[in-house]
């Protein structure tokens, strides 16, 4: 059966049953909308957590009596550890300058203070690929054993909280995702079943006059693909404008800017639209099966 014939029949059918198709597309769009909002939230939350994690560094404070000649050797030793992204030496003078900057207009507070009173330190960034709480703890423990090292800080409390929060979010994402997927599957397949059921007689007659499965199913499947892709595209558009609107509303607080929120990436959107189309096609094919047995 030529694709052109099926397409023509699908278009004709779409015109004749416009309201039914519109309602199905609307149901698909609403289901997708919930899914997109959910994805948007989880996507951004994950990004914030990741970004926050990347900002965490291990600070290795050296003993004051460590000679300048030892610094390059210690630097090399730290850089040589597994999972280290970068190492930066902060001398006592630089540390003092940073302190001064942080006081801004009240620099005079530091007048008369010895510029070398702060200990020299190394700022160690962990490689993103191996970033894990256990690895940070491990590296920190290792570094604190070295004789030249006075103290190791890595924002342990924050790391612990971040880890716990990530775990909760991940769990929530998976659980809600599964529930939403089941709901979506149920709603979409039932809507499609109702559509097919309403046209049961037509399908039966087509079977009786010698219509092949391709001839009968083709327009239904094409319509389902259309409903899936159009419905999900509409959901993406609505959520995009809603996202822009909310962003605009909250922008003045500076909070949103600091969180650096993003909309879903293009690859994800393309995949989502395609998957929605295919999902509707599969649902329709399953719903049609029992009507094609005559």
């Amino acid at each position: 059966m030529a694709f052109g014939v099926i397409l023509k029949r699908a278009v004709r059918d779409f015109r004749q049953n416009f309201v039914t198709h519109l309602m199905t597309t609307l149901v698909v769009a609403l289901t997708c909308l919930i899914f997109v909002f959910f994805s948007l939230f989880s996507f951004n939350l994950q990004h914030v957590v990741e970004r926050f994690g990347r900002q965490l560094a291990i600070i290795v404070y050296l003993k004051k009596d460590v000679s300048q000649e030892r610094i390059p050797t210690i630097y090399q030793k730290i850089a040589g550890l597994a999972g280290i992204e970068s190492v930066r030496f902060v001398s006592s003078e630089e540390a003092f300058k940073r302190l001064e900057q942080s006081f801004k207009d009240e620099k005079e507070v530091l007048q008369g203070v010895d510029p070398l009173f702060l200990p020299p330190s190394f700022e160690v960034q962990i490689n993103r690929a191996v970033y894990h709480l256990d690895r940070i703890k491990e590296i920190a423990a290792q570094l604190s054993q070295w004789p030249e090292v006075d103290k190791v800080q890595y924002g342990r409390e924050w790391v612990d909280r971040l880890e716990a929060f990530s775990r909760i979010v991940r769990g929530a994402v998976v659980a809600s995702g599964i529930i939403l997927l089941i709901t979506a599957a149920f709603v979409v397949s039932n809507t499609i079943k109702l559509t097919v059921f309403a046209r049961q007689e037509e399908i039966e007659i087509m079977r009786l006059v010698g219509g092949t499965s391709g001839f009968i199913q083709g327009p239904f499947l094409l319509a389902a693909f259309f409903q899936g892709t159009v419905g999900s595209s509409a959901a993406i558009l609505v959520s995009f404008f809603a996202y822009r609107y909310v962003l605009g509303m909250l922008d003045y607080t500076g909070l949103v800017r600091s969180l650096n929120l993003d909309f879903l990436p293009l690859e994800y959107i393309a995949l989502f639209i395609l998957a929605s189309g295919l999902f509707c096609v599969v649902g329709t094919a399953v719903a049609l099966r029992r009507f094609l047995r005559l």
Partner: protein, 225 residues
């Protein structure tokens, strides 16, 4: 049983049992030759519709074999059923029309499934609709027609693809005397053009004075052939 050299329809020892133990048909042996017009009669529940349904593969026998126009229905794949149904035009008592579609669309469906070109399709559909006397109502919706007219649409749909076999399952069951006469005349015309027809009815007046062969079913058994 009459023996025919090259039957277009042949049933050998056909039986049909429904769960749990309802016997619809039992040991049916039947041959129908090409171009023959036979009446199939019997009281309600005698198995007329079951027998017809098996001839277009809407049901399968629990025993025996059926051959239709050279196709052994017991060895037919599901994908081959449409091919069989294009050879067998079926007319139902309840017409089975798409009431929200026009006369043209209803009749054209039989040719659309075959993938006929638009120009050919239109020409043939118009010809057949005019042939059943509905030329002036071609673009009316089926729901706007009378019972007799609806049955003529159903006949047009069954014959538009020129099937060699026509199965009519109580086609006059819902019609008055005048419309019944019109349908029988149409069927005679189709037969005269070469179609093999099985006309199921329990209306004795239709075959009483007819020279046509009569098949009589009673409690699932063929009493007269």
């Amino acid at each position: 049983m009459i023996s025919i050299d090259h039957p277009i329809i042949e049933l050998k020892g056909v039986g049909k049992k429904y769960h749990p133990d309802i016997l619809a048909l039992e040991k049916i042996d039947l041959q129908i030759s090409k171009g023959e017009f036979v009446f199939l009669t019997g009281p309600s529940g005698s198995g007329k519709s079951t027998l017809l349904r098996m001839l277009y593969c809407a049901e399968s026998p629990t025993s025996g074999t059926i051959t239709v126009d050279g196709m052994d229905l017991s060895s037919l794949y599901r994908s081959q059923i449409p091919q069989l149904r294009r050879k067998v035009g079926v007319i139902f008592q309840d017409f089975k029309l798409l009431y929200n579609k026009t006369v043209f669309e209803n009749v054209a469906l039989s040719l659309e499934v075959m993938g006929l070109k638009k120009s050919q399709l239109e020409k043939r559909v118009k010809q057949v609709i005019e042939g059943v006397g509905l030329g002036d109502k071609i673009f009316r919706k089926a729901v706007q027609l009378s019972g007799g007219e609806q049955q003529r649409v159903a006949i047009a749909r069954a014959v538009v693809n020129r099937p060699p076999i026509i199965l009519a399952d109580e086609p006059t069951g819902n019609l008055d005397r005048q419309r019944t006469k019109e349908v029988v005349t149409l069927m005679n015309e189709l037969n005269a053009r070469g179609a093999t027809i099985i006309f199921a009815t329990h209306d004795e007046t239709l075959f009483q004075d007819s020279h046509r062969r009569l098949l009589m079913l009673e409690k699932g058994r063929l009493k007269r052939s």
